[in-house]
């Protein structure tokens, strides 16, 4: 059937961006928001229809296996018959799933921003950027080949940069946007190298070819390249560096907490729900390659980086006071979950549980984390502060925000029957059945820690002791509460989506079993975390202060985010700038510049000497001419005799 209408999914957002961007000063406040929301709404409806069509009508082949479908694909840059850069739209289970996630969150955030960005400068600019981001992100998930995904990958980076630096007259926001761009760009260098390796040795960019068994066995035949691993494995590790940069995995996570300087809807859309899972999406996109090359060495790297990041971020989230930063570290922790779930996954049938769990968690996490961020935005809007010291007792003033935030907090903690419970449970089961006990232990511990720090956040905002408010906080307007309610509904129901029959590693449906032991254990530790948080933070008391004192140094390290920023500053300023950049600068200034200046000065000096010959006397010129003639005559004389 003709799927060319799917191009509209990309065309509508970019047109909206152009319309809003070019008429930046002409379209006034509510209208740009309405245009953006309607346009993204239409995009969302087309995307839902496409996803529906894929999952239930055209996606399966005769054996009931989901296929990759190229809705459209045209050659853009041609190198050889196998190596060409295409532009197109690829439909497969994960891109169809992302077609639900990205437009939903984007649509809700657009509606939310009409209320949230009210009376902010550059209202139209904000919506133009949001449309640009939506376009880039949809292009990323629908990309048919590595190079196209790389183009859109950079474009989401640019939109993220623009939106973090939205308050461009605030120095901290400008610094944060630069930091985010430079760190992710640095990581993307690895991605680019990986692409070059793959295209040089594999002679293709196309995802369909890259994930075919024929390609994998052909690449495996080429033997090892370096340190006992094949060149494709190294390329995959490099590609994962790019993914880790975008997904804020340790040690490239440092930009994510600072990115919270952007407006809160941006944090919800880009830095919680969609862009930061691009790394997970990338690994999932190349999953067959990750799994089969060299027996999955690259996939082990993914698993361990994910596991370390999830624990690392959870520990930091304990001690932060800025509510958006707590959420940022929890995002990092949850993305670590998705990464490790991919990392422990197998491929065929039920073995691919980790892959399914990862995608499931990506889906549910997008819903409840966007909800948490939008809730946090609503709170910040009401109390005009990011810090939990300025909050407390808000449940009376903001009932809708309170209920939706509670739902999201319960979901992320893994309490049944909310979305997070199902997906997190599958991740625990996946790491258990693949005998990755250490990873299982980390995952299990982090489940409890997540419950604790999320409820610390919840109680500190909505219970605790009521501080003195300058203005009595009040519930946000409808444009803010409606998205909250929609996302809360999604959080309630999305756990029941049968992912095991829709999104699997090999496209075949499989049956999941309820593992009661894991369920009881995970709900147990989550309740334990919530219970501790209730004791410590429901009413104002000194327990938390005492704990802080008891942990002493460890608390300090956690509070300062394990000094990762300082480490980076040390490495860049002290080592790279002094050790590398300075000698290079010296070389540049003295040797390169010196050579250039030398050539210039030499020419000047010679011409200064030579110009005396041009005396202006015609007799001198005749003299030179005749001397030349005499010289040539003598030369010929000599040569001819």
């Amino acid at each position: 059937m003709d799927l060319s209408f799917t191009a509209l999914i990309l065309i509508i957002p970019i047109l909206t961006f152009l319309v809003l961007g070019l008429n930046y000063s002409r379209i006034k406040e509510p209208w740009s928001g309405i245009i953006g929301s309607v346009a993204i709404g239409i995009t969302a409806l087309i995307s839902y229809y496409t996803a529906y069509l894929y999952f239930f009508e055209i996606g399966k082949d005769a054996d009931g296996v989901y296929q990759k479908i190229y809705a459209m694909n045209m050659v853009w840059v041609y190198f050889t018959d196998t190596l060409h850069i295409d532009m197109g739209i690829l439909l497969d289970p994960i891109s169809a799933m992302m077609l639900v996630v990205v437009p939903t969150i984007s649509w809700m955030v657009n509606i939310y921003s009409i209320g949230y960005m009210h009376k902010e400068g550059g209202f139209t600019r904000f919506f133009a950027y949001l449309s640009l981001f939506t376009f880039s992100m949809l292009g990323l998930v629908l990309a048919t080949n590595l190079f196209m995904i790389y183009i859109f990958w950079e474009m989401v980076g640019v939109s993220s940069y623009l939106l973090i630096g939205y308050y461009y007259n605030k120095p901290s926001a400008v610094l944060a946007s630069k930091k985010a761009f430079i760190v992710t760009r640095f990581a993307d260098f690895g991605f680019l190298l990986g692409i070059l390796f793959v295209s040089y040795y594999g002679k293709t960019f196309d995802f369909g070819v890259l994930s075919s068994q024929a390609f994998i066995s052909e690449m495996q035949m080429q033997g090892t390249a370096f340190m006992g691993l094949s060149v494709i494995t190294w390329a995959l590790i490099l590609i994962f560096i790019g993914g880790a940069g975008k997904s804020a995995m340790f040690p490239l996570h440092i930009w994510l907490p600072d990115a919270m300087e952007g407006p809160t809807p941006v944090s919800a859309l880009i830095h919680a729900a969609t862009m930061v899972v691009a790394g997970v999406f990338l690994v999932a996109r190349l999953f067959p390659l990750y799994f089969f090359m060299d027996g999955g060495v690259a996939l082990d790297v993914v698993a361990w980086v994910g596991a370390f990041s999830t624990l690392f971020a959870a520990i930091i989230a304990f001690s932060q006071y800025d509510i958006k930063r707590v959420l940022a570290f929890s995002t990092m922790s949850q993305i670590g979950y998705m990464m490790l779930a991919l990392g422990v996954s197998g491929y065929d049938g039920h073995e691919g549980l980790g892959f399914m769990a990862s995608m499931f968690h990506l889906f549910t996490h997008a819903m409840f984390k966007a909800l948490l961020f939008l809730g946090a935005g609503s709170i910040i809007h009401a109390v005009h502060s990011n810090y939990m010291q300025d909050m407390g007792g808000l449940r009376k003033y903001m009932p809708i925000t309170h209920i939706t935030f509670l739902i999201a907090a319960l979901a992320i903690s893994g309490i049944p029957p909310l979305a997070g419970f199902f997906s997190k449970d599958e991740i625990l089961v996946a790491s258990l059945i693949h005998q990755k006990y250490l990873i299982f232990g980390v995952t299990y511990a982090v489940a409890g820690m997540t419950a604790f720090y999320m409820f610390r956040l919840y109680y500190r905002i909505f219970w605790w002791n009521e501080p003195h408010y300058h203005h009595t906080p009040h519930e946000a307007p409808k444009t803010i509460t409606i998205p909250l309610l929609v996302l809360a509904t999604m959080t309630l129901i999305s756990g029941f989506i049968p992912f095991h029959s829709l999104v699997t590693a090999d496209g075949k449906a499989f049956h999941t079993h309820l593992h009661w032991d894991v369920i009881i254990a995970s709900v147990g530790i989550a309740s334990l975390g919530i219970g501790f948080a209730t004791i410590m933070y429901k009413k104002q008391n000194m327990l938390s202060t005492r704990f802080r004192a008891a942990f002493g140094l460890f608390y300090k390290w956690s509070f300062n985010k394990f000094y990762m920023d300082e480490v980076y500053m040390f490495v860049t300023k002290k080592i790279i700038f002094n050790g590398v950049s300075r000698p290079f600068a010296w070389f540049d200034r003295h040797v390169v510049d010196g050579a250039m200046n030398g050539v210039g000065n030499g020419t000047m000096w010679i011409s200064d000497k030579v110009k005396g010959l041009q005396s202006g006397k015609v007799q001198d010129y005749a003299m030179y001419f005749v001397s030349g003639v005499v010289f040539i005559a003598m030369l010929f004389w000599y040569l001819l005799n």
Partner: protein
């Protein structure tokens, strides 16, 4: 054919005239004198043509015709050069070569 005079003597004569012309062109301080030196150079060339014709190809007349051409060209050139000289004199009231150095670097 001039009796008692071989081609070499006449060629030596024309060479002497040529180099007198070159020397004059290099050393005279006055534009008119330079012009006269150029005439000497041209004359030596014309003489060469005539002599070559007379001694080597007595039946032909091309050399004579060429020397006539040279005389005509020399006349035209002198007319042009004199016009330039007159204009220069009107401009700077001088014909000294050292006063004509404004076109240098």
């Amino acid at each position: 054919m001039i009796s008692g005079v071989s081609i070499y003597e006449i060629l030596i004569l024309s060479t002497i005239i040529f180099f007198i012309g070159v020397y004059g062109f290099f050393t005279r301080k006055n534009l008119i004198a330079m012009l006269m030196s150029i005439e000497l150079i041209l004359n030596s060339a014309a003489l060469n043509f005539v002599v070559a014709n007379k001694y080597l190809f007595p039946g032909n007349i091309e050399g004579n015709i060429f020397s006539l051409f040279i005389i005509a060209i020399a006349a035209a050139e002198t007319a042009l050069a004199l016009a330039i000289v007159i204009n220069l004199y009107r401009l700077i009231m001088s014909l000294k070569t050292k006063d004509l150095e404004t076109m240098k670097y």
